[in-house]
């Protein structure tokens, strides 16, 4: 009854060529900028804004991995960003470490925290988990404020300045590409299928042989580690950190916004959403500076009302199971 089937190979379709062209275009951008700006990159705000956008692509993808694909809506995801930012900040400033190893430590600290926090909060379901994570985030910000000898407390501290915008741009681009590719691949594996089962009916999934606790905490940890890494990068680029700018209330909202506008539970959604959000922001800020929060809010409500599945909803249902070989199994009849 179970013939051993072959896995269909992935075909390179138009959509994937689009992905490569997009990545190639983004990789060339600093060169184009260099041609148009005689002073090099340093005063170029477009490159800076693009770097932020790419970081948001990664953050929104991480947020979507746990909230959209696994179904645990995380309102406190910025906690892991903060752990990464402070790991890099403290190690570089107080211990004199070079930048790159601190990124690894930041990711590790965020991952460890996710395992510990997840083991407690992921027993909660739905809004209870979301609120528990919001509480965790707020608590962590206050802890950072209080542990002054280590974190510099409320006033924060400065990192060694390093104004190399193309470097941060390429780092953010590399991470975004790797993370999106990783999540895209994972979605098609057994791991991805099990995440979907947890999202759709956790106790049913458990009954059907899925170790739900292990899978959801692994997903949470992976997303947190990646977010910790962005935090470290952001801290070095920003050259200054304090509890309020690192543990910014609106940072999680921004991740959620990008994921929801693009399409929750899809891989391309957070990418499109982050891009759209930044493009919109440039447009709105340029013309209606005082109104930008209001206008963004209106657009969000409109998206939720008119197309709750986001932009990706226009291309059919893409938040379901990715299985290769299904069509072939049916066509063989």
């Amino acid at each position: 009854m179970t013939p051993v089937g072959q896995t269909d190979t992935i075909r390179v379709t138009g959509r994937q060529w689009g992905f490569f062209i997009l990545v190639a275009g983004l990789a060339m951008l600093p060169l184009i900028e260099a041609l148009t700006d005689g002073n090099g990159f340093i005063n170029n705000s477009t490159l800076f804004s693009m770097t932020q956008m790419l970081m948001l692509v990664t953050l929104a993808s991480n947020w979507n991995f746990i909230s959209g694909l696994t179904g645990y809506v995380d309102f406190g995801h910025t906690a892991f960003f903060g752990l990464g930012a402070y790991s890099t900040g403290i190690l570089m400033t107080k211990s004199g470490w070079p930048f790159y190893p601190t990124l690894a430590v930041g990711a590790l600290v965020a991952a460890l925290a996710a395992v510990l926090i997840g083991r407690v909060t992921m027993h909660l379901k739905g809004p209870y988990f979301s609120i528990a994570m919001l509480g965790t985030f707020a608590a962590l910000r206050e802890i950072v404020r209080v542990v002054r000898p280590l974190t510099g407390g409320g006033p924060g501290f400065s990192l060694p300045p390093y104004l190399n915008r193309p470097l941060f741009y390429y780092l953010a681009l590399a991470q975004a590409v790797l993370v999106v590719a990783l999540y895209r691949w994972l979605k098609g594996t057994e791991f991805g299928s099990m995440m979907l089962g947890i999202r759709e009916d956790e106790s049913g999934a458990e009954m059907r042989g899925i170790n739900t606790t292990l899978i959801k905490i692994t997903a949470f940890t992976l997303a947190a580690a990646s977010t910790g890494l962005v935090g470290g990068m952001w801290a070095y680029q920003n050259t200054f950190i304090d509890p309020d700018i690192v543990f910014l209330d609106s940072r999680t909202i921004e991740m959620a916004l990008a994921a929801v506008i693009g399409g929750l539970g899809t891989i391309a959604g957070p990418v499109l959403g982050a891009g759209l959000l930044y493009w919109m922001r440039d447009l709105v800020w340029a013309s209606f500076l005082q109104w930008h929060l209001f206008i963004e809010g209106v657009i969000l409500i409109a998206v939720m009302l008119v197309m709750p599945k986001g932009i990706m909803g226009l291309f059919g249902n893409r938040s379901g199971l990715t299985v290769r070989g299904v069509r072939a199994a049916w066509r063989k009849r």
């Binding site: 009854m1 179970t2 013939p3 051993v4 089937g5 072959q6 896995t7 269909d8 994972l186 098609g188 594996t189 057994e190 791991f191 299928s193 099990m194 979907l196 089962g197 759709e200 009916d201 106790s203 049913g204 999934a205 458990e206 009954m207 059907r208 042989g209 899925i210 170790n211 739900t212 292990l214 379901g320 199971l321 990715t322 299985v323 290769r324 070989g325 299904v326 072939a328 199994a329 049916w330 063989k332 009849r333």
Partner: protein, 263 residues
């Protein structure tokens, strides 16, 4: 325990599933009280009893979904009392639910594929991508259950009876040794009841699946079961062949003596 009939001769065989002295208290209320139940390989056993007699609670305790207050559960001779549901499922025990539990928003096929026999807990198993063999197996089972025409539809849009069939299909995907069916025919149209009972018989007789089922429909119980266990107020009232159980005065009283009782 009142009025216990001896069941069919089962000799000294080891039970595939055994609950010994099972009890479950919710606060001061005993949903299960000192229940012993055994299912032997190849058997088709029914659990009957009025509403609220503890049938589903018994299923939950046997599958690890609820922790027992007292007693032990053995599956294949191994003590699984404190194992998690996914561990018991891995050992070859699979169940359906009284209040149908399909992944409503996902397609019929997705439901089937998410009910496969999962690999172990090694990283390499997790990172395997779904293969065509699994999809073909899903197709074969859906054909057996007359659901192959609806493979692309959301499970929530199927009729009640078709959802019950789909749940049976999901159970079969993992190729279990023991199948627990919780009211597989309740709320199902007569035509589909026939399909469902016929498929259950086929599974037991031809595929050799051991089946334990909860059933309200006495006709279905008579058609299917080798042996019946009667529960009432969380206690085992009687056990034995269908004929011996339904001629037992205590059982007749439990069913017919109370007008609120429902079949």
């Amino acid at each position: 325990m009142k009025g216990q009939d001896s069941g069919p001769d089962i000799g000294d065989r080891e039970a595939l599933l055994e609950g010994r002295g099972l009890a479950k208290w919710f606060g001061g209320l005993a949903a299960l009280n000192q229940v012993d139940v055994e299912v032997y390989r190849g058997e088709l056993v029914g659990i009957v009893g009025p509403n609220g007699s503890g049938k589903t609670t018994l299923f939950n305790c046997l599958t690890g979904m609820e922790s027992v207050s007292a007693g032990r559960v053995f599956f294949k001779g191994i003590d699984v009392t404190h194992r998690k549901p996914h561990q018991v499922a891995h050992m070859g025990l699979s169940r359906t639910f009284q209040s149908i539990r399909v992944y409503r928003k996902l397609s019929v096929l997705e439901n089937m594929l998410l009910s496969r026999q999962w690999g172990g807990e090694r990283l390499a198993d997790w990172l395997r991508s779904s293969d065509r063999g699994t999809a073909e197996r899903a197709r074969d089972i859906l054909e057996f259950l007359t659901l192959d025409g609806q493979w692309g539809e959301p499970a929530g849009s199927l009729s009640w009876g078709q959802q019950r069939l789909l749940e049976i299909g999901m159970v079969l995907m993992s190729d279990p040794e023991l199948v627990l069916l919780d009211e597989a025919t309740s709320g199902v149209s007569p035509g589909l009841v026939e399909v469902i009972t016929e498929r259950i018989l086929t599974l037991n007789h031809l595929e050799g699946k051991t089946i334990l089922l909860i059933e309200h429909n006495i006709d279905v119980v008579e058609d299917l079961c080798d042996r019946v266990v009667v529960l009432d107020y969380g206690e085992k009232l009687a056990e034995g062949t269908v004929d011996s159980v339904f001629s037992n005065p205590a059982v007749i009283e439990a069913y017919f003596g109370r007008h609120d009782a429902e079949f």
